[in-house]
Symmetry: C2
Subunit: 577 residues, 2 copies
C-alpha cells in the first residue's frame, strides 16, 4: 500500500503544479484539460471523480474551458454531484449528476467527439443558474438503456410473446416481468409499450400506445422469451416491442434558470427522459445535435429529443437530426398555474396541476402575467406580480400590484407573457413516436427547410387548462420550404399541421388564440387527406405548397377534408393543384 500511496501523492502534487502554471501563465481564460486531473480515455476507470474535481477547479478559478481528449469515458454514480431538482415534464428527484455546471459564467466543455457512457441512473449534465455556457463535441449513451426492446414472437388474443436479447436483463418474479441492470441490482421498470417496424425502423403502421403499467401477468416460455397477458394487444411477428420506462428521471441535459447556452455536435443514443430539457432559460442554441439509436436498437431518447419550458429570448435549433425517440422532436411551451384560492383582493394561491410540472418556479416578483379563463381559454386580463412565495412544489402564493379583476375566478389559470422567438432550421425529424414539433410562442416561430417523417402531426400547436396545463397560442408562425414526407402513418394528431386552441369547453366564436400563420413553399407527400387543421386563428395563409400522395404507405380514405378551420378569420388557402 505504501508504494501506491506515494505514487498517488506525487501525482496530486504534479497536477497542482501543472494547473498552477496554466493559471498563472495567461491573461486569457484558462483552458483546463481533464488529463491534468488524471483522467485519460479508454481506460474503463470511473471518470466521475476526476471530472468533478476538474469542474470544481474550473468553477473556483473561473476557467474558460474544460477539454477532453477523444475516446471513451465511463461515468459511474459513486462520486457524482447530487442535487434535488424539479424538472419540467419530468419526475422531480435527487439527481446523481456527472457534470454539474452551477453558478458558472463564460465556460464551455469541448470533447472532440469523445464518447461518454453512463452507468446506472446518472444524470449526464445539469446547467443551473449559469450564463454563457457551451457544450460541444461528445456523445451520450448508457451502459443499460432505460427502455428494453424485444422481438415479437406472437401477438393476439390477449397474449404477447417476446424474446429479449441479452442486453436487456430481466427476471420473472412471481408472474411479473422485471427488467434490471446486468448485476440485477437496479430495476429498470417499464410502464408502456410501443411496437416498432423492424424493417422501417420506426413506429409500426397505425400502431397504438399501450399504457399497461408494470403489473402484467408474465411467464417465461423459453430461454429469453416471455408470455404476457395484455388485453387487446396487437403486433406483428418479427417487429420489435419497446418496453418504455415508467418514469422520466434521467434526462441527458437539464438547463435550469440559465442564459446564453450553446449545445453543438452532441449525439445522444439514449436517455431516461428527454435529450435536452431547458426550463426558465433565455437564449438557447442547439446545433448539429443528433438524437439516434445505437446500432441494433430501435429507440434513442425515451422522451422528447428537446423541450423548452417557460424559456425566453431566442431558441435556435439548426442542422439537427432527431430520430427514433419516444416522444416529440421538440416542444416549446409555458406552464399555466391554476387559481386555487383568492385570499384577498390582491392575493391568490395558485397550483401546479400536472404531476410532471410540480415544483417549477415560473413567476418572479415584477413579472407581468395573463389571467386566462379556464372555460374559453381567453385572456381575461393582465396583472403585475408584487411578490411570489412558493409554499411547496404544489402551491404558490402570489400578491399582485393591483386588485385581481372581478372576472377572474378560482380554477382560471395564469401564465407568463414573455415568450421566446423560435427558429427551427434545416433539421430532420423522423421515425419517432407521437408528433414532430409542438410549438407554443407568441414572439414568432420560423420552421424553415426541415424534413418531417412523423407518425402523428408534424407540427402542432395547442395549449390547455385541463390536463397538461401547457400554455399555448402562436403569433407569427411561418412554415416554409419544408418536406412533410408520409406523415400521419400513426394516430397522433388530426392533420399534418395542426394549429389548435387547446381544450376549451366553451370556446369563443372569435379567434383569440393564434395569429398570423403562414405555410408556404412546402412539399407534402401524404398518407391521408388531412393537411391542415386550424382552430381559433386570426390570419392564415397557405400558399405555394406542393401536395402529392405517398407511395410508401397505404392512402387512408378518411373522407375528411384537407383543410379544416374552426372559429377562424382571415384565412387564405390556395387551392391544391
Amino acid at each position: 500500500m505504501d508504494i501506491l500511496r506515494i505514487f498517488k501523492t506525487a501525482a496530486v502534487g504534479l497536477m497542482a503544479v501543472s494547473v498552477l502554471c496554466i493559471s498563472s501563465c495567461s491573461e486569457v481564460p484558462e483552458v483546463v484539460e481533464v488529463q491534468d486531473f488524471g483522467l485519460f480515455p479508454d481506460t474503463g476507470a470511473d471518470a466521475t471523480g476526476p471530472v468533478r474535481e476538474a469542474l470544481e477547479y474550473c468553477r473556483e478559478h473561473n476557467s474558460g474551458k474544460l477539454v477532453f481528449a477523444p475516446g471513451r469515458y465511463d461515468f459511474y454514480p459513486d462520486k457524482t454531484f447530487e442535487k434535488y431538482m424539479f424538472v419540467s415534464n419530468h419526475n422531480d428527484g435527487l439527481k446523481s449528476i456527472a457534470f454539474l455546471i452551477e453558478d458558472m459564467k463564460d465556460f464551455e466543455i469541448s470533447a472532440h467527439g469523445a464518447e461518454f457512457v453512463f452507468h446506472g441512473y446518472v444524470s449526464p449534465f445539469v446547467i443551473a443558474e449559469s450564463e454563457n455556457i457551451g457544450l460541444e463535441g461528445f456523445s451520450i449513451d448508457f451502459s443499460r438503456t432505460f427502455q428494453s426492446e424485444g422481438t415479437i414472437v406472437s401477438a393476439g388474443n390477449g397474449i404477447l410473446e417476446v424474446t429479449f436479447p441479452e442486453e436487456y436483463p430481466f427476471r420473472i418474479e412471481n408472474r411479473r416481468l422485471k427488467f434490471y441492470d446486468p448485476e440485477f441490482k437496479t430495476e429498470y421498470p417499464f410502464g408502456n409499450l410501443l411496437e416498432f417496424d423492424a424493417v422501417r425502423r420506426e413506429p409500426a403502421y397505425m400502431v397504438r400506445d399501450y399504457y399497461i403499467g408494470n403489473n402484467l401477468d408474465a411467464e417465461l416460455i423459453g430461454d429469453r422469451t416471455v408470455r404476457l397477458k395484455i388485453p387487446e394487444i396487437r403486433g406483428t411477428k418479427g417487429n420489435v416491442m419497446i418496453f418504455a420506462p415508467n418514469h422520466r428521471h434521467v434526462p441527458n441535459i437539464i438547463a435550469h434558470n440559465s442564459e446564453n447556452l450553446r449545445f453543438s455536435d452532441i449525439t445522444m443514443y439514449n436517455s431516461g427522459g428527454m435529450g435536452l430539457i431547458a426550463q426558465k432559460c433565455r437564449d438557447v442554441t442547439v446545433e448539429r445535435m443528433t438524437v439516434t439509436p445505437q446500432d441494433g436498437r430501435m429507440v434513442s431518447c425515451t422522451a422528447d429529443a428537446t423541450h423548452f419550458s417557460n424559456c425566453a429570448g431566442n431558441i435556435l435549433i439548426k442542422d439537427c437530426l432527431f430520430e427514433n425517440q419516444m416522444d416529440d422532436a421538440t416542444n416549446v411551451h409555458g406552464i399555466y398555474m391554476r387559481i386555487e384560492e383568492i385570499a384577498s383582493e390582491n392575493t391568490m394561491y395558485v397550483r401546479l396541476v400536472h404531476h410532471e410540472q410540480l415544483g417549477m418556479e415560473i413567476f418572479s416578483d415584477g413579472d407581468e402575467i395573463e389571467f386566462v379563463d379556464e372555460m374559453t381559454m381567453s385572456t381575461l386580463a393582465h396583472g403585475t406580480i408584487k411578490s411570489v412565495k412558493r409554499l411547496n412544489k404544489d402551491i404558490t402564493r402570489i400578491v399582485f400590484e393591483e386588485n385581481i379583476p372581478e372576472t377572474v375566478e378560482v380554477n382560471d389559470v395564469i401564465g407568463a407573457t414573455e415568450f421566446p422567438e423560435v427558429e427551427l432550421l434545416n433539421t430532420i425529424c423522423r421515425n419517432n413516436r407521437a408528433r414532430g414539433v409542438l410549438l407554443g410562442s407568441r414572439a414568432g416561430i420560423t420552421v424553415d427547410n426541415c424534413f418531417f417523417h412523423i407518425g402523428g402531426s408534424a407540427i402542432m400547436t395547442g395549449g390547455d387548462s385541463r390536463y397538461w396545463f401547457e400554455q399555448g397560442g402562436v403569433t407569427d408562425l411561418t412554415v416554409r420550404n419544408c418536406t412533410f414526407s408520409s406523415c400521419k402513418f400513426g394516430g397522433w394528431g388530426p392533420a399534418v399541421i395542426s394549429i389548435d386552441a387547446g381544450s376549451s369547453p366553451e370556446p369563443e366564436t372569435a379567434p383569440r388564440f393564434n395569429r398570423n400563420v403562414v405555410i408556404e413553399n412546402n412539399t407534402f407527400i401524404t398518407t391521408a387527406p388531412e393537411l391542415l387543421y386550424a382552430v381559433s386563428v386570426d390570419g392564415l395563409e397557405f400558399k405555394g405548397n406542393t401536395v402529392t400522395r405517398s407511395e410508401d404507405y397505404p392512402y387512408v380514405q378518411s373522407g375528411k377534408e384537407p383543410f379544416v378551420t374552426e372559429r377562424s378569420e382571415n384565412i387564405h388557402i390556395e387551392p391544391l393543384n
Copy 2:
C-alpha cells in the same frame, strides 16, 4: 365574492393589530396563539396554512411559545412546508411538513392535549438546526393509517384469507392487492406481514415476520375478503394480520442537528416510520410520551417508538408508555462509515452502506474518530478529522490531521467517539414487534424501574460492520429495579438481556466491546431459560435479581443455559435461588 374578500381583508387587518399588541406589550418572550391566525379547533378546516403562518411569525419575531386551544386540528398537505431530508433509519425524501421548526431558538409549542390529525403523507414535525425547543401536550394520528389490519379467516397450505374493515380501503388490480386512501388517490403499499393475537393484543406467540414484498397473487373472495398466496404462511383464525408499510417516509417527529429538546405529554397513535427520530442531536428529553394504538387497532407506530442516531449529551426517557409499535421502543446508536478508498496518506473516501442511512452527515471538521477493524470489530486506532467533504449521499471524503495508520484498510469502518449518556426511567415497553430497547453508548446507560413485556430480547446491545453498520459497544450499563415479564414469547433475540458484540467474523478472544455491566434487583418472569447472553464483556455483575416462571405462556424447554458468556472477563453472576 366582494363581501367575502372584504371580510378576509378585515380579518387579516385585525390579526396584524392583535399580534402587534402582543409583540409590543411585553419584554418577556411573546406567547402566540393560533387563534390569532384564524385557526380554531374542531372546524374540520385545514390547519396547515394558519399553523405555517404562525410558525413563520414566531420565527421572525423570536416568539417564545405557540399555543393551541384543546380540540381537534386537521392537517392537509396543500400548504405544508417542504424540505428534502435524509433521515437515519428511514427513507430519504422530499418531506411535506406540517410543523417545521428550523433555525429557531428558545421556542416551544404547547397544545393542551389537542388532537392533531394528519391527512396523507404529511410529516407532522421537523426540528432542524435549532436549540432549546419544546413540544408538549398533543396527540398525533393519521386519517388513514400507514399499515392495514385484517382479520384472518384462514391461513395454511400457502394460502392466507383476510377480511379488511372499511377503514383500510383496497383494490385487487390484476391479481395484486393494493391499499389506498379512501379517495383511491394515494397508495399505501405494504411490504411485510405480522400476525397479532386478537385477545392479548400483541404479536402472536412465536410468530415470524413475513417479508413478502408487494407482489403476491391476490383474489377477492368476498365483499372485503382477500385470498393471498404466501409460501409457508401460518396464522390463527380470528387473529389480526398486519400489512405493514414497505417504507419509512413519515416519522412523526424528526429532530436533526439540534440541541436541548424536550418532548412531553405527547401521544402517538400511528406513524409512517418511527415516532421520534433524533439524529446528530444533543440533550434530548422524552417525558410522558405514549405510543399506543387507537381504539380498534393493533398497531401504533409502524417502526420504532423512539430512535437516537449519533446523538450526544444526555438522552433521558422518563415515564413513558411504548406499546404495540412495529419495532423497538428505542434504539441508541452511532453509524459506521465504511472505508471505500484510501486516496493518499491522510485522505480517504468513506461510504454509508445501509440504504436507510444514506445521506447522514456524521462527521465534522475537528472530530475525533475511531478506526474499527471490519473483521474483529476492534478499535484499531483513533484519528482527528481535518476536513470533511460530502460528495453525495453515499460517499464522503475525509482528510485527517495525521497519516492514516498502516493497519487501517479498505472495508474497515470509522465511527464517532462522542456518545450520549442514556437514562431510561420508569417506562413501560410492551406488546411491540422485535426487541424492547437497543442500546449502544460508551458514556453510561441506566435502565431503572422499567417494565418489559417483549416478544424478543427486552434489552439488547450490539453493533456490526456488515449489514446495519450501527456502531455499538456499551460502557457502564446498569439495569436495575426492572420487571421482565414474559419476554421472549417471540424469536427476536437470544436472551432476555443480550449484550452482544456484533457480527465479527474473526472475533478477538479478549473482551473489547462492552465494559462494566451491572444487572441488579430486577424481576424476571420467564418463558424460557435464557436470561442473559453476554459477549466480549469486561466486567459484569448479575445480582439481587428474582427469577420466576411465567404462568401466562408455555415454558420453552430449549435445553439452553440461563447465562451464556463468550470472550468475556470479570463476570460475576449470583446463582439463581
